[in-house]
Subunit: 390 residues, 2 copies
Amino acid sequence: MKIESVDFFYLSMPEVLDIGDGSQDALLVRIRAGGHEGWGECEASPLTSIASYVCPTSHSACKPLKSSVEGRPVNDIKDIRKISQLVHEQSLDLLQADHTLSGIDIALYDLLGRLKNVPVFDLLGYKKVYPKIPYASQLFADTPEETFEKAKRTRADGFRAVKFGWGPFGKNISNDVDHLNAAREGAGPEMLLMIDAGTVWGDDVQEAASRLKALEEVNAYWLEEPFFNLSLQAYQSLSNVSQKVPLAGGEGCSNEAQARAMIDHGGIGFIQIDAGRVGGITAAHRLVKYASEKNVQYVNHTFTSNLALSASLQPYAGVDNFKISEYPVELKQLAKDIGNEKIERDAEGYIHVPQGAGLGVSVNIENLRKYIVDVEIKVQGKVIYQTPAN
Amino acid sequence: MKIESVDFFYLSMPEVLDIGDGSQDALLVRIRAGGHEGWGECEASPLTSIASYVCPTSHSACKPLKSSVEGRPVNDIKDIRKISQLVHEQSLDLLQADHTLSGIDIALYDLLGRLKNVPVFDLLGYKKVYPKIPYASQLFADTPEETFEKAKRTRADGFRAVKFGWGPFGKNISNDVDHLNAAREGAGPEMLLMIDAGTVWGDDVQEAASRLKALEEVNAYWLEEPFFNLSLQAYQSLSNVSQKVPLAGGEGCSNEAQARAMIDHGGIGFIQIDAGRVGGITAAHRLVKYASEKNVQYVNHTFTSNLALSASLQPYAGVDNFKISEYPVELKQLAKDIGNEKIERDAEGYIHVPQGAGLGVSVNIENLRKYIVDVEIKVQGKVIYQTPAN
């Protein structure tokens, strides 16, 4: 079975707001073979990723991704791994490559699962899968009062865990303390409470360390992304002085080597992997094994659609020890509309990886037509990309 | 003084060959302010970098680079650092951002130097600059006989150092040994001989280690990029067993944090920084200081024009201890034509950072018109980028 077509669809809300909400646009990848189609989603900057797929070759290690994908066989997961390896060799110097590869790799797994009529986790060798505790992932509100209300609503909604991040957090310590206390108060004493600093302190260990006491007092389950991705020294230094609050990070990793570096040298307790950035399910699944060996907890990073959530759950669905899952609760309508099937909590508040073939979440592009952003790229007068008609 | 315009020019040879020669195309950036213009060059995949400059915003941490650059003040190097920081915050989730920023940052330094009529190294605080030993950087030939001839010619040409890389190297040990011996034989016993494996062994330490004896026997000055960038464990493991041949790497680093990780955890003797990839002169100059503190030798990575070579030399021009410089000798005509001024060896075989204002290498885009690749990008029917008319 050979890949017959690869199509990219750039979708966006009519208005993109200046907030840390990654669900406002999306880049979907559709790959067809043998009468089936698989779908994947790339995180971030759709136009740039499209350009990386179709760009002219710069040299032997800087080719467009299409040269490693189109027409290749896809009969088992070895074929998908081969495509991943080929992209890394042939697009070595194309920085955007891993984000684009991520959506392609996810779509290939979805396609292969549908061709074989099994879920992706089955392709990965998992015979049994385990429920995850979803944390309601959301942005800090503008005021502590509103953060309190958000936390209270999340608790009333039956969540076992909640995360607040970005927004005003990190810029003023007294305001941060107010938001932290408000979050804990609203969430009540039982819920897991995660805090996401959204890289706000760059690599300033002191700024981060000055928040540890307040984080301990609200019994924070983790402190996420205090620093820019791969600021290993800063992560390690903060980890050394943080007695009770483990660090989480890694969503910015765009390949396995970067995530291994964070695990080995960042002193983190939780490695957060976005399958839509790290190179897809191939890379994410390898990192699940690596995190297990290193006694670091693996958690998905997902702030977009249920298609992306399924892709992020599959790599660690069969590992009972890794219990936590990011679950976005403030998705824009676009991200809600992407998957036909929904991943909802059960009566006990857990989520389950879909049991359907492939990712178990299908896409009907006709239903998404109103979100499509029409793109045309011409090089030397020749159209090298245009939004597919259907 | 405010930035008045930022223009990108995609240049290419009429035919791009499937070889590891990065001088076959180029992306130039021109920034104008106060009656002057500065030029920079981004490494690799021009179309993708252009897209990252003009793409629509995805969210608050995934904006096009133009939103952090256009209209900003540029009165001293603090302003340039501020732009760099802003790009990192506002384009955090845009993977291609650092390659694009690199050309912008270089152009801003060139512009500021011309506005103040001083060389870039002066802006960086260097009162004195030192000559560098250029190594003639070239690809392995297809056969050992041809590699021998290339080495011999390089010696006859008066170079003190030579590097061979890529091509057939790394795929077959006996063929590798033949190429290594041929290179040393052609170069003679005195010349420094560097070997570049071009990431051919992925992260396979055994494959790399099996070449150490042959590398020692030809007295290799370093072994470069045995593995993919940031494969820290592989680098460290190989470094532990390599008694006489230090490792070199880092050209793939696209920000400071990655390069610091390589220095701290890769066991390398030489950190190779491409100012056109790592975030420009701002990031490169910080890494010069960091490498000094860590007793790792800093070397430029440059495989393109003299404009890029000057940008790569400026950050460490004032450090006498860092003596080696990559000097490409197989440039395609395009790369030769980019700079009006040339960086040539002196009678003793050394090169010197240009003394002219800014980078000391100017660009006349009219002379390069035949290389221009015409690009047009339309989003929702609106042209968001087209190649500047002049």
